[in-house]
Symmetry: none
Subunit: 191 residues, 4 copies
């Protein structure tokens, strides 16, 4: 009757989408604050919906956590695209630092992700985004002669996994981890 392209349907769907977002947001906050102790009904309450709604959008606790993880990785990819990419020669470094900062601000959530998914790596939609972003970063830095020519996206994944673990368990200063990763353990020959 009014907006041609917006049938009555849309309204409902928009609400549903908003609920999904609310749940995700609530879950993220709760996991950040209370870690693994968070239960599904709590998430529902915090989001202002029933448990059923949580389960409608995320078929299992694991799926919810995966979605949270993916969201976080999406944001990191966004950062890689918008910021790191414009700093050839040190894009990868900036990327690693950003990851470090984000993870360090969210250790409990990381622990939940690790405990639930077995890994902290992106596994859903975000994976492709991230892969592409990091790929570009590497190419640009290599073009600038800043990083070794044989470095692959897989390598960076692996290192980020290590970085993530370092932060999560607090086994050391993560900035030092990045430093070592960049320069290596070996003593450099003169010059």
């Amino acid at each position: 009757m009014s907006t041609p392209s917006t049938p009555t349907h849309r309204k409902t769907r928009a609400d549903a989408e908003r609920n999904r977002a609310r749940v995700l947001k609530a879950a993220r906050r709760l996991f950040h604050e209370h870690g693994d102790a968070v239960q599904m009904p709590e998430v529902a309450r915090a989001a202002g919906v029933g448990v059923g709604t949580v389960y409608r959008h995320f078929p299992s606790r694991q799926a919810l956590i995966a979605a949270v993880a993916d969201q976080r990785f999406g944001e990191i990819a966004e950062y890689a695209r918008t910021t790191c990419l414009h700093e050839p020669g040190r894009g990868l470094l900036l990327y690693l630092r950003h990851v470090g900062e984000v993870l360090a601000a969210d250790q409990r959530l990381s622990a939940v992700i690790e405990a639930t998914l077995g890994a902290t790596a992106p596994q859903g939609e975000a994976r492709a985004q991230l892969e592409e972003a990091v790929s570009s970063l590497i190419a640009r830095d290599q073009a600038a002669g800043a990083i070794r020519a044989d470095l692959t996206v897989g390598d960076v994944y692996m290192l980020v996994g290590g970085l993530s673990a370092t932060i999560r368990v607090g086994s050391g200063d993560w900035r030092r981890f990045i430093e070592l990763a960049c320069d290596g353990l070996r003593s450099r020959g003169p010059r």
Copy 2:
């Protein structure tokens, strides 16, 4: 009623010690085989004792797992002492490889340790041993000019943590992780 001298007592203590060892061995095997699914009564059964006995020796599941972890680290320290130490210039490298091999052969156990203790690092008795061994390794390699002068035991801990995570979650080829850790990401200038 009571046996005159100490024999009975001794006998008992020896039995207790043997039980402790049995439980530890059974636990290690079970965690290796079935990961986190292993329950305390199962451990008891496999060890041929009652649950109560398991709890007598290890006050909690966590304690049992810590003991298993420590045992493994003790063995690694032993290897560092007896083998790596005799290869100045590449002792640390050998150490890292050995750790990689041991962990790679035992991913499920590592996952249990991580899930339970929050880290894969030694926390009990083995910690001191390991610290000392690694310390020596570093010193010797540094003396040989093989590794950077500012490397500390803490750094190695941290890297081993990263290596451990890499192996546990299978996020990449752990030999490559070691390679990168040694040489760094940066491209090396000519010469």
Copy 3:
């Protein structure tokens, strides 16, 4: 506000009727295939309507199942009327066999009916039809001297209930059940 004549109205009613039929058909198929595991939303999906529509026509799951059951009994009554009735002296036997065949082809649905309604007997509209049909059958067979004079519709109901259970749980060969029901357990005297 109101459509002048009846067309629009008719159209709507016809649609509604068609929806009811669709739902019923979908439900019958699904219960036949998946038994009690079928959920209301699944029925809706299979029928190509929303859950709300299912509930408009059948106020509860139980009501839906009752409707399915009644439909089936209506068909059986139809068979009694059109076929069995023309075979005086063995009409009841034919009837029992037909019931057996129908139920045997639909054990899962029968289980659902039993679990939901507490019985497999018709309870709605079909009851009257069936009662009348069976009544005629009995009368005709009795007239032919084929069955005992004191047999009532209630008796047949009861036996069909037993037959139904026999088939549903597979506790034996239902044809034998019918045979025993006809001839009894007692040994017949000479002649």
Copy 4:
């Protein structure tokens, strides 16, 4: 300390056995009174034990119900052995009547059994006992010329299933069911 042949162990085991019996008894009473509404924690409470204990003895709700069903069948078998067997010529009839009475006194429990196990027939240990008892009954009655020569245990099973359903759903007078089962539907010729 006291009874020579009763080591400390026995005491514990006896207690466990008593608990098992208590749970069974409580379950039977509750199912009798409240049918399917009974939950595991309620059974535990009524038995004066924790849920865990219930689950130790009966690994699932279904197992508990199966045990209750078997117990009841065991009692029926006992009756067959001690009473029916001494009435050649009418043993089977007495048996059917007894089954009818027992089931009629316990419709709710029967409904639970049916809903849970899919059938009301004995499936565990009681099955063998019952089979043997009924077998003897049949043989003796046949020897007395009271029942048809081709009657098998399976036939009786099947009829008891039908009888059970009749009683459970109240689809008619179960005594009449027995009467019909014995005499058959067919009219008997003169003499």
